[in-house]
């Protein structure tokens, strides 16, 4: 699903973001990416949907050569991925339904299919009755669930979540993790960068720890490994 070999990335200011990174993530895995701020987690995530291109190495995602792909192929790489951010990134002047449908409109999906898929993901995230609300009428947890619905509405093979619970209280966070578990159990690969020790420790999934751009730990059933 994701294959990284000897990935190097240095930013223009000379900062080394990733240093000889080797990772393989298989279909259906649930992976936590941990490490202190600035360790290279964000760069790692951005490589996957090609917001950042590595300087050297081999990177394939969903069977696509991310490094050598033409710029015009990037949209098609991203259609196979669902991306979720800490700050939700919803459109404030669109309703819940429209925010989710938007992800399908822009890849020109048929209208009937949009209706069916949006209703089905609204069920998954438990927001069926709020489909007409605007984002500012929702709590943080609900907004993040809309963002998740938007990320999975196109049936991506991989969901990439960058600190999805970073702005949420523990109880709400567990609600979000519950949704991720359900998505994962249907076969979707999940890569999630997080600082949430409680969640990582409790779930006992694969943990990849990054420090100074290097992978310092990769355990198939690990804990957070740092003191808060």
């Amino acid at each position: 699903m994701i294959h990284m070999k000897d990935i190097m990335k240095t930013y223009e200011n000379g900062a080394v973001a990733l240093d000889h990174v080797n990772v393989d993530i298989n279909k259906g895995e649930f992976v936590f990416l941990v490490g202190s701020s600035g360790a290279g987690k964000s760069t790692f995530m951005k490589l996957l949907f090609r917001e950042v291109v590595p300087d050297s190495g081999i990177l394939t995602v969903n069977g696509r050569d991310v490094i050598r792909m033409a710029k015009s192929d990037v949209p098609y790489l991203r259609r196979g991925l669902g991306v979720i951010f800490q700050d939700y990134r919803l459109l404030p002047d669109k309703t819940v339904y429209e925010n989710i449908a938007f992800a399908m409109q822009v890849i020109e999906a048929p209208r009937r299919m949009i209706q069916r898929s949006v209703n089905s993901v609204l069920d998954i995230v438990g927001l069926r009755d709020k489909y007409r609300c605007f984002p500012n009428q929702l709590s943080g947890g609900e907004q993040q669930r809309v963002a998740i619905a938007r990320a999975i509405v196109n049936n991506p093979a991989i969901v990439i979540a960058d600190e999805p619970t970073g702005n949420l209280d523990p109880e709400t966070s567990w609600g979000i993790m519950d949704i991720f578990q359900r998505i994962n159990s249907s076969g979707t690969t999940i890569v999630m960068a997080t600082h949430d020790k409680t969640i990582v420790d409790a779930m006992q999934r694969r943990v990849i720890a990054i420090e100074n751009g290097r992978i310092v730990r990769d355990e198939s059933h690990g804990g957070y490994g740092y003191e808060d």
Binding site: S72, R79, V83, R89, F102, Q105, V106, I107, E108, N154
Partner: protein
Amino acid sequence: MKIRTLEYFVREVFLSLKRNNWMSVASVGTVAVSLFIFGMFLMLVLNMNKMAESLESQVQINVYLEEGTTSSEIRSLEAELNDMQGVEKVTFVSKDEAMERFKERLGDQSSILDALDDTNPLPDGFEVMITQPELVETAAKNIEQHKHVESAKYGQDVMEHLFDITRLIRFFGLVLMLFLAGATLFIISNTIRLTVFARRKEIAIMKYVGATDWFIRWPFMMEGMVLGLFGGILANIILRFGYSALVSEIYSALAFFPLIPEQPFLNYISIVVVFGGMAIGAMGSTISLKRFLEV
């Protein structure tokens, strides 16, 4: 492009125009003003060109013959001139005709000719029309080589000045039009930039969920084109009325003045202004969008 995508684009464009209503009005206005000035100069340059062309095409050489040239010599000379390269037409002007014309030109003051006491100092001659203005100088020199020719004159200085002026007008017209096109481009791209900036989050999300650059670009290009279209139509209306008024004004005062007739000239101008506006609108939005597509 699919129909429902087009629907979506059109909805987006009109929402955006509505959302930035004052900015949209202001940019249609500025586009109209720029295109109006642009159109005015286009008309001016084209009319100047036409004027220069008609003056250039009136180029003729006045040939004066030696005193005492016989009529048979005149006829053979006329034939020789007609055979020369670049000569369009040769007209004989007898000394009497020349005097008549001279009197006409003097008009009220023709009485000064009374001093000549019926003697006519003007020579017989030819008016030689030349096909191309560039050939005039050589033709005049060649004609002077002929027997019985006293001199062959043409408006050398006037011609040279005319060429200079025409060149100058063409050059400045072009520079000014390029400048105005650039200014219009700048204004439209700034208006679209506001829209793009207001919707940068939306653009970023579109990129993350896999929209192609063209899908993102289209609504903005259409918005720019709509602004250019409205501005162009407005400028076009003013230009048409203005030119028609000018033409009728000038025809009543100076009937011989060689202005380009309204039809089909105005239709060409309309096409250039309106389509030019749309093209500049599309280009302006592409420029302002470029940075935001780099996600």
